[in-house]
């Protein structure tokens, strides 16, 4: 398969011997680049956040102000907005994704499984900015009315359904996030459900269970950690999602409990202000926001990996 040229026997051997020693180390160096990027990321974010951290300390996290003129910054509204929009996104996305995953494995006729999976995964490939564009021109007007005006009418006595229906705001951001995490959660849950051995299903059906009872009692509990892992992976994506959210959340830095209210997330705050930031505490504060976002998504992703890893490693036992 490899053309071996006739060369001086000794030279070739010595050369091959040296390269043979060097080549694995060369690949190691490139692999270490990956580790170096990650370590560099952590170091750079920490050192560049120092101007903000030394000025505000831990009150950065609890302060609600964002005043570039007086150089007074706080992260609370952005953290709140990130958590709220991701929470709304998951509340909408989890039932849909689980249902879709169950459909893909347990219900759909065989010929439909492949194409339906493919279509849902295609949704994950659409660039964030395009989903944002669609969100801005199609979803936001739809959210303004009928959704928000209807919710305000019928459920206005709850504080989180109060306020004028702008369209842009937490609700729209949550719905956009739901659209963006459905493919991930669906794909991971589908794989988890598919990994459940058929004996589980057959045993349950043999004692007279309906198809749903089988899914509910024999399939879903069996792959619980895989399902949770999928949801957490989706959460990680939702927390860091930037463009689409920035385009529909309204970018207003305030702390309001209403879903209709415009807001900001950590990512949208960085996206909309970083290139205008004038250095010092302003840039430092934005980088500290990035650091917070990095730390949270890191934690979330590690938890998800551990859960999914457990799923594949206990496949044989009956947990």
């Amino acid at each position: 398969m490899v053309p071996v040229k006739r060369e001086n026997k000794w030279r070739t051997n010595r050369f091959a011997h040296i390269v043979d020693k060097l080549f694995p180390n060369m690949t190691l160096v490139f692999a270490l680049v990956i580790v170096a990027i990650l370590v560099g990321l952590i170091i750079v974010l920490n050192t560049d956040a120092i101007p903000a951290f030394s000025k505000f300390g831990f009150s950065f996290i609890s302060s609600t102000s964002w005043d570039p003129v007086k150089e007074n910054f706080g992260a609370l509204p952005a953290i709140f907005g990130t958590l709220l929009s991701s929470f709304i996104g998951l509340v909408i996305a989890v039932p849909i994704s689980l249902g879709a995953a169950i459909f893909l494995v347990e219900i759909a006729p065989t010929w439909l499984r492949g194409p339906a999976s493919l279509i849902i995964e295609m949704l994950a490939a659409i660039p964030s900015v395009i989903i944002g564009l669609w969100g801005l021109f199609v979803l936001v007007p739809f959210v303004r009315s009928p959704i928000e005006s209807w919710l305000g009418d019928k459920l206005g006595f709850f504080p989180f359904f109060q306020g004028p229906p702008f369209g842009v705001g937490f609700l729209a951001a949550g719905m956009i996030l739901a659209i963006m995490v459905i493919p991930i959660i669906t794909a991971v849950s589908r794989d988890a459900i598919r990994a459940v051995p058929d004996q589980q299903r057959e045993a349950m059906l043999a004692v007279g269970a309906t198809r749903w009872e089988m899914i509910r009692r024999a399939v879903l509990p069996y792959c619980r950690s895989g399902l949770v892992g999928g949801v957490i992976l989706g959460l990680g994506r939702a927390l860091g999602e930037t463009m689409a959210v920035t385009m529909v959340i309204g970018n207003s830095y305030q702390l309001k409990a209403s879903l209709f209210s415009p807001g900001a997330t950590i990512a949208s705050k960085i996206a909309s202000e970083f290139s205008e930031a004038s250095g010092g505490a302003f840039t430092g504060s934005l980088i500290e926001l990035a650091l917070i976002l990095f730390a949270v998504t890191l934690l979330v992703n590690v938890v998800a990996r551990v859960l999914l890893w457990r799923m594949t490693s206990v496949k044989g036992s009956s947990e």
Binding site: A16, V29, V33, I34, L45, G99, W212, M247, I270
Partner: protein
């Protein structure tokens, strides 16, 4: 014995829940259809020759296009790939062929974590390590940011596809007396080429539409492409700016840009699927029969 009513209740509850699950799947597919359909319909109406061949015009002047931004996006994809392909491919080789299990799992973990870092944070990082020292927004910094996003994708897919090359091929190559690195570079990598190319294409699809890391690295430029150390325009960046602009003409162009971008990204994704499904249906690569001995070969089962 089960009473008749319990039986009926269970039967109907079963139908209800199965129906709800099917509805959920239908809903997910419907959403994709809505987004795709709307973007394609609006985009194709806005697409014309001027859009592809003209530079952007200043506010107030009608017409103009995204020629510079399309060109810029291609340059950025190229830059990202030039940096990411060697790093990703070599790391993949390291993970699949040379690493001890402990080191491999550490590197793999780092790659997975890196893949999960939000792209906006990667943008901040590229700003700090390239834009700040050079005192200028630049195409180079955007290329670095995109490469960081692309590397884990390429590394992991390269590793997976190298592992799919059966051990018999490794043994056969070594039995011929050639050195180990020649075996890897000359026999195993070519054997895994389809998978490696697939990974690179996945990486390209991933970075082609990335916008967040470009906001404060590439920045965008009204003057076209001016070398690697100056700001550069990019298609997704321009879509974002035009979408948020108050001018209907620009919004129209944003849709045309979205159409192009979606065709590019989905085109690559579909191509990747097609290639890998062909590969999976064909158990023989270069007349070497695949062995089914480890779980990496599951896809060929």
């Amino acid at each position: 014995m089960m009473s008749e009513t319990t039986y009926l209740r269970r039967k109907w509850f079963n139908r209800l829940m199965l129906g709800l699950s099917s509805t959920a799947a239908g809903l997910a597919i419907l959403i994709l259809g809505l987004i795709l359909g709307y973007t394609l319909a609006r985009g194709i109406g806005a697409l014309n020759l001027d859009f592809l061949t003209q530079a952007a015009k200043p506010v107030g002047e009608v017409g103009g296009g995204m020629r510079n931004e399309i060109f810029g996006t291609l340059i950025l994809i190229g830059l990202g790939s030039i940096i990411a392909i060697p790093v990703g491919l070599m790391s993949g080789m390291f993970l699949a062929e040379f690493a001890s299990p402990k080191v491999a799992s550490a590197v793999r973990f780092a790659a997975d974590i890196l893949a999960g870092v939000p792209s906006i944070v990667v943008g901040v990082f590229a700003y700090a390590i390239v834009v700040q020292p050079l005192h200028s927004y630049s195409a180079l910094s955007a290329g670095v940011a995109l490469a960081i996003i692309m590397i884990p994708v390429i590394a992991r897919t390269a590793e997976e596809s190298l592992k799919l090359v059966p051990n018999s091929m490794r043994e056969a190559a070594l039995a011929l007396g050639i050195s180990r690195w020649r075996a890897v570079v000359g026999v195993i990598v070519p054997g895994a080429m389809t998978g490696i190319v697939t990974g690179i294409m996945l990486g390209v699809a991933r970075i082609a539409g990335e916008t967040a890391p470009l906001l404060f690295t590439a920045l965008g430029s009204q003057f076209g492409v001016q070398g690697l150390l100056n700001p550069i325009g990019a298609l997704p960046l321009q879509i974002y700016n035009y979408a948020l602009s108050p001018y209907p003409d620009w919004q129209q162009q944003a849709w045309a840009g979205a159409f192009l971008l979606i065709m590019l990204v989905l085109g690559i994704s579909i191509l990747v699927r097609w290639i890998s499904s062909r590969r999976n249906n064909r158990p023989v690569i270069r007349n070497v029969k695949r062995s089914n001995k480890n779980d990496n070969d599951i896809r060929f089962g």
